[in-house]
C-alpha cells in the first residue's frame, strides 16, 4: 500500500504510515481523487458482512453481526411482566446498546462512550417505527401477563458504522428468537421444562403453537460520509474521525424509507446527495436481505 512518489511534497520524504498519522485528511484525499479508499474499496462498496445466529446458547435468540471489523453481539432474553392498563394485550421491547471498554481505545470503564446512548436511542426509534415487531404477539394472558423482550447489544469491536452493524444484529436476533413455552401455575408464569411436553399434566401451556415472532417490514440501514463532493459508503472508524458528516438511511425490505438521520456536520447536503445516499442504501438492502436469508436458512438446516 504505497503512495506514488511523484510529488515534491513532504510525503516523498517520510513513510506512508507517518504521513497517514500526521496528515490524515490529505492522505485520504489523495486516495479519493483516484476513487479508491486505503483498504482498496471503491467509494460505494460496503465491507464484507457476515451474520451468525445462535451465538449465545443461554439466550432465547441471539446473533453476531460483523461488518468488516465492526462486531456486534445481540442477545434477547424474555421475561414476564404485567401489561399496562392502556394496552393490556401488548408486550414490550426494551433495547439496550452497550459499548464495553474492550471495543475501542476511546472507551474507559469510568467514562462511557459518547456514541452509545445515541445509537441506543436511534435503534429503539428505528425498530419501533419500522413496525417489525407486532407487540400484540407478545401477549400471554390478556391483561395479566405479557412478554417483556430485553434486547442487549454489545459492541465487541468498534470500527465505524456502529448503527448499521447494531441494527443488523438486532434484526438477526429477532429472526432467531424462539419464544419459550410457558404455562400458568397458580397465577405465575413458569417455564415448561422439555420433558413435561408429552405428559398431559394439569398445567396447560399458554402458548404451545407460537414459538417464533412474525416480523413485519425488516429495516436495513447504510451509513454514508459526505466529504466535499464525494460520498463514501460504510466508513471505518478512521474515516469517521476525519470526515465527520454522516448520513444514515434506513429502508425496509420493500424499499420504503423508515428513517433518515443527518446530525449536522460540516458538509450541508443538497437533495442530489441525499438521493444518491438513498440509492446506495437501496443496493445495500438487497445485499443485506440476501445475507440474512442465507443465515436463517443455514440455521434451519441444522
Amino acid at each position: 500500500m504505497g503512495l506514488p512518489n511523484a510529488s515534491e511534497d513532504l510525503s516523498s520524504e517520510m513513510e506512508v504510515d507517518a504521513f497517514r498519522r500526521l496528515f490524515p485528511l490529505r492522505y485520504f484525499e489523495r486516495h479519493l481523487a483516484e476513487s479508491i479508499r486505503p483498504d482498496a474499496r471503491s467509494l460505494s462498496r460496503a465491507r464484507n458482512t457476515t451474520i451468525s445466529m445462535g451465538a449465545v446458547a443461554s439466550a432465547d435468540g441471539s446473533a453476531l453481526a460483523k461488518i468488516g471489523s465492526t462486531t456486534m453481539l445481540a442477545a434477547i432474553k424474555m421475561e414476564v411482566m404485567t401489561p399496562s392498563l392502556e394496552s393490556p394485550d401488548e408486550g414490550c421491547v426494551s433495547i439496550d446498546f452497550h459499548m464495553p471498554p474492550i471495543c475501542s481505545p476511546l472507551v474507559r470503564p469510568g467514562r462511557p462512550a459518547e456514541a452509545a446512548p445515541v445509537v441506543a436511542k436511534q435503534l429503539s426509534d428505528t425498530i419501533s417505527s419500522s413496525g417489525m415487531i407486532n407487540l400484540k404477539e407478545l401477549s400471554l394472558v390478556g391483561g395479566k401477563a405479557a412478554w417483556m423482550v430485553y434486547l442487549d447489544i454489545y459492541c465487541l469491536d468498534a470500527d465505524g458504522a456502529l448503527f448499521d452493524a447494531a441494527l443488523l444484529s438486532a434484526v438477526a436476533a429477532f429472526s432467531n428468537l424462539q419464544i419459550p413455552t410457558v404455562s400458568l401455575d397458580d397465577g405465575k408464569i413458569v417455564m415448561l421444562p422439555e420433558e413435561q411436553k408429552e405428559e398431559n399434566s394439569e398445567k396447560e401451556p399458554v402458548n404451545k403453537e407460537k414459538r417464533k415472532l412474525t416480523l413485519g417490514g425488516i429495516p436495513f440501514s447504510l451509513t454514508c460520509i459526505l466529504h466535499k463532493n464525494y460520498i463514501l459508503a460504510d466508513p471505518t472508524s478512521e474515516e469517521e474521525s476525519i470526515m465527520e458528516t454522516l448520513v444514515t438511511v434506513v429502508l425496509d425490505s420493500s424499499n420504503q424509507l423508515v428513517s433518515l438521520y443527518k446530525p449536522g456536520g460540516a458538509v450541508l447536503a443538497y437533495t442530489s446527495a441525499v438521493q444518491d445516499c438513498i440509492a446506495l442504501t437501496r443496493q445495500r438492502v438487497k445485499e443485506l436481505h440476501q445475507i440474512l436469508e442465507e443465515a436463517i436458512s443455514g440455521m434451519e438446516i441444522d
Binding site: V56, A57, S58, A59, S62, S69, T71, L73, A75, K77, M78, E79, V80, M81, T82, S84, E86, S87, C92, V93, S94, D96, H98, P100, P101, I102, C103, S104, P105, R108, P109, S124, S128, M148, Y150, D152, Y154, L156, D157, A158, D159, P180, V182, I189, V190, M191, S237
Partner: protein
C-alpha cells in the same frame, strides 16, 4: 430486580419464567462408589477442553477470545498508553484491569455491571508477569468481558 424503564410507561418490574429453585440437582455423592463421574461425565481431575484465539478485536493493541467449556471470555489489552493526567508521576508502569459481565452471561438476566473482585484478582495474577519498569509513566489497560458464565 431493578427494572428497565420503557419508552411509553414508567419502570416495570419483570420476572423471568425460569425458576431456579425448582430444578432438582442430582446429589453429587451417590453411594460410596469412588469411580463416579461428574454431571458432565468428567473424572475428578479432568479439565474441560479449552479453545483460544488471538486477534479477536482489531481496535485493540492485543486481544484474545477464550472458551473453557461453557465459559466464554473476550479480553482486550490497550497500551502502553498515557496515564490519566490526574495520576501521580510514577517511574514504573501501571496496570489497570477491569472485568465486566454481559447481561446475558448468567441464566437469569443480570445487570451486567463490572466485578471489582475479579478485577483485583486479575490484577494480582498479571502483576508478576509484567515487567513494569520497561514502560515508565504509562499505563497498560486490560479489559475482560465475560460473554457466558459457566463456572
Amino acid at each position: 430486580m431493578a427494572a428497565k424503564p420503557s419508552t411509553t410507561t414508567t419502570a416495570k418490574a419483570t420476572y423471568s419464567p425460569i425458576d431456579p429453585t425448582r430444578k432438582t440437582r442430582p446429589p453429587i455423592f451417590s453411594g460410596s462408589d469412588v469411580d463416579w463421574l461428574r454431571p458432565d461425565s468428567r473424572g475428578f481431575h479432568q479439565c474441560r477442553p479449552a479453545f483460544f484465539r488471538t486477534g479477536a478485536v482489531n481496535s485493540a493493541s492485543g486481544s484474545a477470545y477464550a472458551e473453557f467449556g461453557n465459559t466464554k471470555v473476550i479480553v482486550s489489552v490497550f497500551g502502553p498508553r498515557e496515564s490519566k493526567k490526574a495520576m501521580m508521576y510514577s517511574n514504573i508502569g501501571r496496570l489497570n484491569c477491569n472485568v465486566s459481565y454481559t447481561t446475558f452471561a448468567t441464566p437469569v438476566r443480570g445487570q451486567g455491571s463490572d466485578h471489582k473482585d475479579f478485577s483485583s484478582m486479575l490484577h494480582k495474577a498479571l502483576e508478576g508477569a509484567i515487567i513494569l519498569e520497561t514502560f515508565p509513566k504509562t499505563t497498560v489497560d486490560v479489559f475482560a468481558l465475560v460473554l457466558e458464565s459457566g463456572g
